[in-house]
């Protein structure tokens, strides 16, 4: 049984906050140093929000909670993102 999805599950909610598509960025983990596509994050959605974890060390990369028109976004474990602007 797969418990998680990939980070494309976050694309809709993140596009409401950011003007660039973060799911196409690259990420370096600040905990384990793993480098890979943002889209490879493990995203858990069967919980009170959405939780994305590093595919290598399972550190929580981001937490997203949505209630009506309010969104809480905790990017505490994101590390460094490389975003191509065009």
């Amino acid at each position: 049984m797969t418990e998680y999805l990939d980070a494309n599950a976050l694309a809709g909610a993140l596009s409401e906050v950011f003007s660039v598509d973060l799911t196409s960025s690259w990420r370096r983990c600040s905990v384990c140093g793993h480098t890979g596509a943002f889209a490879e994050l493990h995203v858990y959605t069967d919980c009170p929000g959405q939780v994305a974890r590093c595919p290598s060390c399972q550190t929580v990369v981001l937490r997203l909670v949505r209630s009506g028109d309010t969104l809480w976004l905790d990017l505490g474990g994101t590390g460094c993102l490389r975003v191509e602007l065009r």
Partner: protein, 200 residues
């Protein structure tokens, strides 16, 4: 026969409705909610600790924990994702029993789990026969996906407070928000007052 069944079902539903907090629906299933991989903790490696605000720690092994007086709470549970489940049966040790071994004047508690999950509660909500560390559900050992070997059970608050795979409780002088409380969820989480998010 159909009429009698419907009538009986209807009366029972009304009695049940009074037990369902606002904005919740009833389920007969037991949905598995998880914000990460399921930790696999053996009974041999299992420990439960309470650390006081002064830094003193009391720890129980699985054997020591099972040797404590066992209680069988029969209760309704309410998940913030809007399902409620009535008449659940658990076996475990009351927090009152566990707290007897601890010298504390703390006002708050932070439960922490294998896998890194945390959740905060006022200490008075863990006392007074309102909270347990449970290891069985419906008479069977608690399955890993439901928090086994042991989870916290605090049924008068939303179920995210009932931390799965519990490892210990830190007693604190100040309130320290846990995993979901840091990310928009209510610091207390009373289902009867619909305290789902910050500001509710």
């Amino acid at each position: 026969m159909g009429i009698i069944s419907r009538g009986f079902g209807g009366r029972r539903r009304t009695a049940e409705d009074a037990r369902v907090p606002p904005g919740q629906y009833l389920t007969d299933g037991f949905p598995v909610l998880s914000a990460g991989p399921t930790p696999r903790v053996t009974e041999e490696d299992w420990r439960f600790s309470i650390t006081s605000e002064a830094g003193d720690t009391v720890t129980w092994t699985w054997e020591e924990f099972l040797a404590l007086p066992q209680e069988r709470p029969h209760t309704d549970i309410h998940c913030v994702t809007r399902w409620s489940k009535l008449d659940t049966e658990w076996t475990g040790v009351g927090l009152d029993t566990l707290l007897e071994s601890v010298d504390t004047a703390a006002d708050f508690a932070l439960a922490y789990s294998h896998g890194g999950y945390t959740t905060n509660l006022p200490l008075e909500d863990l006392a007074g026969g309102q909270a347990w560390v449970v290891h069985a559900f419906g008479g069977e050992p608690l399955a890993p996906e439901h928090g086994g070997p042991a989870r916290l059970l605090v049924p008068h608050l939303y179920f995210w407070k009932s931390a799965k795979w519990i490892k210990g409780v830190r007693l604190l002088d100040h309130d320290e928000p846990g995993f979901w409380e840091q990310a928009g969820y209510h610091p207390y989480g009373d289902p009867w007052r619909e305290q789902r998010y910050w500001g509710d």
